[in-house]
């Protein structure tokens, strides 16, 4: 097997850290973030984000439709 160059090795380490997520989060934190983005709470999370945009004409625009 061909050895990685030091540059490739550093980039690979960086890629793996990126994919692992924020190391400060606990497993419980990660589970909550999963629930609001792809689990049972995703619709409520989306509704809350949409409400913020709808209530803010600078952020959402006066003719906002998104």
């Amino acid at each position: 097997m061909e050895a990685m160059s030091i540059g490739e090795e550093l980039l690979d380490q960086r890629r793996r850290r990126r994919r692992a997520g924020d190391p400060r989060l606990s497993d419980a934190d990660r589970e909550i973030l999963r629930r609001i983005t792809s689990g049972d709470l995703a619709p409520a999370f989306q509704a809350a984000l949409d409400a913020d945009v709808a209530a803010d004409p600078v952020l959402g625009g006066h003719d906002h439709d998104d």
């Binding site: 890629r15 997520g21 973030l33 983005t37 913020d52 952020l59 959402g60 625009g61 439709d65």
Partner: protein, 138 residues
């Protein structure tokens, strides 16, 4: 640099890497989309969602408030603001869409979203006109 929306940002921070998202470049969230997340962190509101969000640890909240630099960056809005205003005048929509389009235009002519709900009519029309590729990873 890959520009992503708040859905992908939360998934990445939480270590749930979205299938199909390239992992060989730094990820960046437009400031207005970070603002959108920060509103949920600091004013979670009522109901089940707020109760769940209140259970996130201080370290977990910090992962959203101050993203780990090796995981997620937040784009400086200042170099994008004039372009964003020009795009809002041309295509409509507010800062959220205009800044996202400006970021996508500058950073690789690509935008990545974690939900179709974040890709509306203004953004779709403008992205097509500007030659910005829109990818949705649901």
């Amino acid at each position: 640099m890959i520009v992503i929306d708040e859905y992908l940002a939360v998934r990445v921070v939480g270590g749930a890497w979205p299938e199909g998202l390239p992992d060989d470049e730094d990820l960046a969230l437009p400031a207005s989309r970070h603002w959108r997340l920060l509103q949920r962190v600091h004013a979670p509101g009522d109901g089940q969602l707020s109760q769940i969000l209140a259970q996130i640890s201080d370290a977990g909240r910090d992962g959203i408030r101050h993203p780990h630099p090796e995981v997620l960056g937040v784009l400086d809005p200042r170099p994008l603001l004039d372009d964003a205003a020009a795009l809002a005048a041309r295509y409509g929509g507010g800062l959220l869409i205009a800044e996202t389009l400006a970021a996508g235009l500058v950073h690789g002519r690509a935008l990545w979203f974690g939900t179709p709900a974040n890709v509306g009519r203004h953004l779709t029309r403008a992205a097509e006109d500007l030659g910005i590729g829109v990818q949705v990873i649901a």
